[in-house]
Symmetry: C2
Amino acid sequence: MTENSANLRGAESTDDVRSAAPLKHVQTIDFVGPIVLELGISLPRVTCAYETWGQLNGDASNAVLVCHAITGDSHATRHDENDDAGWWEQLIGPGKAIDTDRFFVVCPNVLGGCRGTTGPSDIDPLSNPPKPYGASFPRITIADMVGVQKRLADHLGVKRWRSIVGGSLGGHQAMTWVTRYPGSADSCVIIASSPRLSSQSLGFDIIARNAIQSDPNFAGGQYYDKPQRPDTGLAIARMLGHITYLSSEAMADKFDPDRHDPRQIASGFEQQFSVGSYLAHQGEKFTTRFDANSYVTLSMALDLFDLGSTRLQLMEAFDEADSSFLVISFSSDWLFPPSQSRDIVAALAALDKQVTYTEVTSTAGHDSFLVDREIGQYAPIIEARLGKVDRSPLTLTRLEEFILSCIPSGLSVLDLGCGDGNLMAALRERGHEKLVGVEVAQDNILKAASRGLNVIDYDLNTGLPAFIDNQFDFIVLSSTLQAVANVAELFDEMLRVGKRVVVSFPNFAYRTLREDYVVRGRSPRAPGEFNYCWYDTPNRRFPSIADVMDLCREKNVTVEQEIYFDSATQTQIWPDDDPNLNAETAILVLSR
Amino acid sequence: MTENSANLRGAESTDDVRSAAPLKHVQTIDFVGPIVLELGISLPRVTCAYETWGQLNGDASNAVLVCHAITGDSHATRHDENDDAGWWEQLIGPGKAIDTDRFFVVCPNVLGGCRGTTGPSDIDPLSNPPKPYGASFPRITIADMVGVQKRLADHLGVKRWRSIVGGSLGGHQAMTWVTRYPGSADSCVIIASSPRLSSQSLGFDIIARNAIQSDPNFAGGQYYDKPQRPDTGLAIARMLGHITYLSSEAMADKFDPDRHDPRQIASGFEQQFSVGSYLAHQGEKFTTRFDANSYVTLSMALDLFDLGSTRLQLMEAFDEADSSFLVISFSSDWLFPPSQSRDIVAALAALDKQVTYTEVTSTAGHDSFLVDREIGQYAPIIEARLGKVDRSPLTLTRLEEFILSCIPSGLSVLDLGCGDGNLMAALRERGHEKLVGVEVAQDNILKAASRGLNVIDYDLNTGLPAFIDNQFDFIVLSSTLQAVANVAELFDEMLRVGKRVVVSFPNFAYRTLREDYVVRGRSPRAPGEFNYCWYDTPNRRFPSIADVMDLCREKNVTVEQEIYFDSATQTQIWPDDDPNLNAETAILVLSR
């Protein structure tokens, strides 16, 4: 294996490159019980270890809670230049997206872990003679972790977090916070997480626990006074976890080039292949810094997390949450795949919660949330959610002005293909409150989100399953119709979700196009949306105004308003002036 | 867990529902050595266990070799009504795709296994006192398994197999046969296999072996005389394998409904979730019928299989093979994903080997090759490859006749979007030998393959990476241009791979369309390829003859021949008679 391989980091696992040394800067607070846990057992007392950065302001309104993943800890970022780097170093710090010059950032170690907060390796205060909990540590849930964090918030004087931010298990904690404690946060940022584990992911966790618990050195969890610990089982669990944190593509990039040339390491595990020596190294290293009982405790808590499997169950779970939400997933994450984030978003959208969602294109798998390149992609959107909003003055196109004129003030609007959010920003200026955008281009999503708008990353070709019947007064579909494959289905979906639909589209029977076609004998082109070469146009549907009117008749759709205009002459064309010939662009208001 | 769950079968694992009882109908043959293995060690003797069905004919030309997967055995199908079902019961038998009324079918157990052929659990003839090989069984390769099968073929009097058919590790055996022993088979059927394992799949195998070998009861492989066997490690290995055989979607279907309601089974493994009790049950059951040393031996042989990672390496590997090939993959197989089968196909195609490829749409994951529904989909194409060819008389369309007229006899042709293979069949009748079709519709692939044609399942929007420069005299792209997204790239690709390109397309500037457009003011329609409604047409490009001519000029493409005709009047339009207005359809022969 090449020297480079030493730098390979599987990254729930960013922590893997860190030492097992005690953390500096850790503060602790003891909560004396009994502390009743969700499944009925009590703990007599709980110590909570945490780190903080920045200063809490006078009205305690600038506190941000950061929740770590399963094998993470409180050291999210460095405290000073001499400090070790943290696991979210690129995201948190002075001038960074989570700006410690502006925010009071708190990161607690979780209950059940082994990095400061009470867990199975700590002494059971009720034992005599004193001995660690071991297997007698109660089964805990994520709600129990969050319960301890709530006590910490009370201790710190934080009544409402500016934001609760977490990735993976940290995302599950964030969701638990806002569903268990409505009113606890302005915003909730859920990264690479899910409403519950897929059965596949659950299966991997179960195998990992079976490997630990069937290691003879596990001794039913009471191994602390034994000469041997269940290192073999824990290492196997870690190897397995590691594969699930990476994508197949990322593993190919890392291990294919030197597949048959394993790094020579001291290990009892197989070292036939480079990927094998790497996994063995990572697995064995993990045993020097993590406790097997903690791993079992935390992974079981993760597996028990279950907001439900149906839209209705998820809606019930989030019903009382009053935060705004930012949900981020990664295209190559197969442990918590984007489809699971979309389920969360669909429930939130159906509940009219403020929600922005983006799927970051990435090859790094679940680990993406900890990888610098991907952090670089999603950090700006977190920064926007934390209040850094672009309020540049707006310039509206003529088309946008016409569309605005069709929408009575104050009504709710869903803008499909919202681009950079210009129209939505104009609607907001006019006082509309309930505004949601849908967009697929990541740069546009970022721009719209940076304006403080709610925008959802969503492919219109799959219909509008995120939204419920009559959820919006108006749906806008502007300059997008001609690029959609499933036009008829989208029409039905828009008229299901919106009371009225404003659709604007370029008219394919416009005089200039007809002339171009007849005169040149070529696929028609004219300045505007149809100014593309036939073989690389993004358009795939070429309707005239008459075509769309036909479709409306077929579907029993009422055309309530018609606006036509000609950009070339900057004139509006009236309905009795043959718009199908004379208008370049049509705006129709439809209802059913 | 519901009673239904008892029927859940993860299916490399179809074997899981079978007893561990000794197989009836097994024959054995001893080969006395020394038998030199690929990695240099010798075995003094090898017993090969196998089963046969049907009768070998007089010239030994009807023998079919069936190769089993990693935990399979020789019992591929039943021998009579009272016999146990086999693992490929639906594929093999009287009147089935592999028809035991016509073929002499042979299925040997593999070297290194534990179901009859010599493996680690057998007595080492050189030991004194006699004891099983255990860990002293040499490391073997798939070539060694195939070497034993070659001796079996010699024993049976089979010089050339009619076909060698295998799925998963069976596919790797089939590839090894035809690459190591050119001339050994008329056809090679490779199902759910790969040129080598992905690093991800390799990682899972390594973890499985680590679990077995670190089980204290493994005792370095010398456990046969011990009271305990490494059942825990083997069970964990099996659980892990099981997940990789299923897709996430299949697991959701199976385990989501009763996730928190595990079946009560006697097990030391965790049983908190239904998927957990299922995996525990499958894992423990496996230990009653399979030997841990065999599992390690066979999975290592699989992992060492490596035909290369580049096209050139794969071309070198297959260079001397003289079989025809049928390659089958499954869309949801993530252990041996379709991209790996496409790599095999690309190498074979570049070598001008006879190859047909289909990707079966399936949710059953890697297991698909053993699942009845999916067997139902791919069995007909195997039947065709084994010689059941449809030679119905051909009826050609006028368009097809014109295209045929452009292609001088005897030249090689690649037909892109070949449909049911009608044009290719006509070319074959005319004596063309090198003919390859490309198609994406599964029903068309089956129809073309049933005609004995070679057709490759392939998306034209990704270019033509399976083919090399100037590989064909002619490329045909008939009535497909208007449905392709990346037209310009495809033009370049066609002119790279073919010396000449025959492209036929409907003319969007045809008089009837122009009239329809001008008169009706609607997206033009006319009988033929453009007779679709604007919102659900499969077409996405709308070029006129003049447009395509423009593109040819831009790309410095020479138009060598032009044929235009009008279906409505059944007349040919001459180039000086304004075909861009008068011709409904154009056929151009292009070169660069």
